[in-house]
Point group: C2
Chain length 144, copies 2
DNA sequence: TATAAAAATGATTTTCGGTTTCATATTTAA
DNA sequence: TTAAATATGAAACCGAAAATCATTTTTATA
C-alpha cells in the first residue's frame, strides 16, 4: 500500500509540478489529525510548528491533496470546505444533529453498494458519494 | 393532502408571522417550475410577472419556504443554494456530473430504509436525508 | 373603523469563504 | 550553472449569504 506522500509525488510528476518543502510540511500536519479540517483549521495547526507558512499555500495544498486523492472533501452544509484523510479514514456517512450540530458517523457497505447499482443503471461513473442525514441526536431527543 | 399555501399559512400562524402579498406571489412562481432554483433564478422568474419585487424578499421567502417544509434544499457543491418543491417532487437523490454539471436523479426506497436502520442504531431521529453522488455522466464519459 | 405594535419590504451594506493576482523565491532539467 | 517553470505569501478580488435600516404593510384590539 502506497503512502500519502508517494501518492502526492506520483500526482506531481504526472502533472509536471515541482516538489516543495512547504507542501510536504503541510501534508505532515494534515496526516497528523483524524478530524475534518478546513483550510483555516489546518493553517492554525501548521502555524504552530511552521509559523512562516501562509494561508494561500495551505489552501492550495489542500486542493492539491484533494485532486491527488489524498484528501476527501466533506461538506456539512455550512459553506465551509473541510477535508479528511482519504486513505486512512474509511468512507463514512454523517448523521448531523440539527439542534446541537453534533456529527455522528456510520458506515454501511451495503448502502454504498446499492447506490453504486443505481448509478450503474444510469451509466454514471461514481467518484464520490455524500450521504448526510439530518435530524435529532439521542442527547437532544432526551432533553426535549 | 394540504396545499403548499396551507402549509405556509400554518407555519406563519405558528410563528406569529404576517401574510404578505409578495410572499404569496413568490410562492406562486416557485410552484410553477419543476427545476431547482436559486434565489437569483427565482428572482428572475418573479420579475417577469411582478417587476417590483426585490431580491431580498425572494431570498427571505425561499428560506421561509424551506423552514415551512415547502422547499427542499439542493446543494450541488458550487456554493449556490438551490431549492425544489418538496411536496410535488418525490424525495430523490442526485447523480451530479462533475464535468458538465448535469444532475440525474434516482429513487430507491431500499436505500432510504437502510439509512433509516443505521440511524436507528445510533438512536438518531431522521428528519431529512441527502444523498449526492458525484462523478461522470454517460455523455461526458462517452466524449472522453 | 381607527390605531398602535409588530412584521415585511427593498435597497443597500456587510460578512465571509474561496479564488486569483503579482512580485519574489525556489525547484529542476539541461 | 543557468534558464525556464513552478511555488510562495501577502494582498486584492469575487460572489453569494446574511444583516441593516428606513419605510410600508399587516393585524389584533380598542
Amino acid at each position: 500500500m502506497k503512502t500519502e506522500l508517494e501518492y502526492l509525488n506520483i500526482y506531481q510528476k504526472k502533472h509536471g509540478l515541482k516538489r516543495s518543502r512547504q507542501r510536504n510540511r503541510i501534508l505532515e500536519i494534515f496526516l497528523s489529525t483524524d478530524r475534518h479540517v478546513s483550510a483555516e483549521d489546518l493553517l492554525e495547526m501548521v502555524k504552530k510548528k511552521y509559523p512562516d507558512i501562509g494561508y494561500s499555500t495551505v489552501y492550495r495544498s489542500l486542493n492539491l491533496f484533494h485532486k491527488a486523492g489524498i484528501a476527501r472533501l466533506v461538506e456539512i452544509g455550512d459553506g465551509v470546505a473541510r477535508y479528511e484523510n482519504a486513505l486512512k479514514q474509511k468512507q463514512h456517512h454523517h448523521l448531523i444533529c440539527e439542534n446541537c450540530g453534533r456529527i455522528l458517523e456510520f458506515t454501511d457497505p451495503k448502502v454504498d453498494e446499492m447506490i453504486e447499482k443505481n448509478a450503474r443503471k444510469k451509466k454514471f461513473k461514481v467518484t464520490r458519494r455524500r450521504i448526510d442525514v439530518f435530524g435529532l441526536c439521542d442527547r437532544c431527543r432526551a432533553q426535549k
